[in-house]
Amino acid sequence: MSASASQLTTAQFCARLLRRQLVLAVRRPVEIGNPILFFAMVVALFPLGLGPAPGQLSGFAPGVLWIIALLSNLLTSDAVFRGDFDDGNLEQLLIAPQPLYLSVLAYIGAHWIITGLLLALVSPLFAVMLNLPAQAIWVLVGSLLLGTGTLSLLGCIGAALTVGLKRGGMLISLLILPLYMPVLIFGSAAVKAAVLGNPAGPYLAILGGMLCLAVALAPFAVAAGLRISIDA
């Protein structure tokens, strides 16, 4: 870094944080590949468990795809702050002059790009495997784009609260899954509506509204959680 952190504008600071997180992820491609591999494997579990009849599968597909997206988001959110907590970078972030709200948002944004955005982009492939009708695929991609943003924001609250704990992995699911439920309801409802040929716009609008609320409030909770975890 050529300039010290105090000389950077807030926007530059956050842009560098975001780039750093993405570079770290790209250097370890397995980390990016794992959620998608997880998604593919769980997709394969459902026909094995529920039976392979195409008509039946397309009925389950909206809910199944959304539940898997939710789980892979949950499993990856545990690691968002852990590396930086262990090596002390997080403490530097907390004492930096830039507002923690925005730097936390950069972390969450990077997490969303690596998991939510990528999953939304590859989801048509899995939708076809589960026999989802063609008209619903775009709605699936749109609902995942909007919904996984909210999931990342909520998941990072759990990650921030549990980052200092040795056994955080299971705990974060207990804390965060109840909060995920509204997103699951409206995400899968949007895709179901599209399957039946009904307009999905209202559901996508509600997902967008949830995303706005989460962007406005969740980073405060994440920032508070990080401060608590550092003090503990």
């Binding site: 609250i157 705990l171 207990l174 804390l175 109840p178 439920m181 509204p182 309801i185 909770a221």
Partner: protein
């Protein structure tokens, strides 16, 4: 006013005052519960359609009302402890979680017992049942998070943040689950406009709701007193209390 607020932050004062409140509140609560149960279970008319099975509302509805209110009490106590760094608010918040979970569980259990003869199933994925289940998960999440921390001060702060996040989410969860599917009857008690429940059944219900609030308050104070003693175990006043209590017995 402010001196009262500051005194609330003092563990010995809170311990003393809660003891003297409990001395009369606990007997009153037990009597009120006994009166309300007798009134509701024996002296109200059976329902036209449901017969006697409806009488479980005298436990089910108060438990559900207090369980929901308990989450808000917990979240407000958490906010007070985060904003004013008041230690006793921490204690109140920590005391709320297991009690609220127990009330939620009672509401779910009595609902299931009522559902079997009325709907023909123990469990139905109806909107309100599901949101009560989510409420139970939220309570248990707070308990689990508190237990996971070794540093109890950090544990309280983390739980306060979590309960505030939950408080913002409860209306969203409630509305989305409501929209998702509704089988439960619409609210029959309204403060404005006519209630669809007869007043002879309504008065014992209000009586029971008030008694359950008192029960919640008693349970919370008992829980808080134990927590105060545990946290302050190394301080002089607790040692004096323990030693004095052994020699003087229940005289004070």
């Amino acid at each position: 006013m402010w001196s009262f607020f500051h005194k609330l932050g003092s563990p010995p004062w809170l311990y003393k005052i809660s003891g003297s409140i409990l001395r009369w509140l606990l007997p009153i609560t037990l009597v009120a519960l006994a009166v309300g149960l007798t009134w509701g279970l024996l002296f109200t008319a059976p329902d036209f359609r449901q017969g006697n099975s409806y009488r479980i509302i005298y436990i089910h509805v108060p438990a559900a009302v207090v369980a929901l209110a308990g989450y808000y009490i917990m979240a407000i106590a958490g906010a007070v402890s985060l904003i004013w760094k008041m230690k006793m608010a921490d204690v109140a918040m920590k005391a709320c979680a297991p009690i609220g979970a127990a009330f939620t569980f009672v509401a779910l259990l009595t609902g299931a017992i009522w559902g079997k003869p009325t709907w023909g199933a123990w469990w139905v994925w109806d909107a309100r049942i599901t949101s009560m289940l989510v409420l139970l998960f939220l309570y248990l999440g707070v308990v689990a998070l508190y237990e996971a921390f070794d540093n109890k001060e950090a544990a309280s702060k983390a739980c306060a943040v979590l309960s505030l996040v939950g408080m913002v989410n409860i209306p969203i969860i409630y509305k989305s689950v409501d929209w998702w599917y509704s089988l439960h009857q619409p609210a029959s008690i309204k403060l404005t406009g006519g209630s669809t429940i007869d007043s002879s059944m309504l008065y014992p219900l209000f009586w029971m709701i008030a008694s359950f609030y008192a029960l919640f308050a008693c349970a919370m104070m008992l829980n808080m007193r134990v927590e105060i003693l545990q946290r302050e175990a190394r301080t002089g006043w607790v040692k004096r209390l323990a030693l004095g209590g052994a020699s003087r017995g229940a005289k004070s």
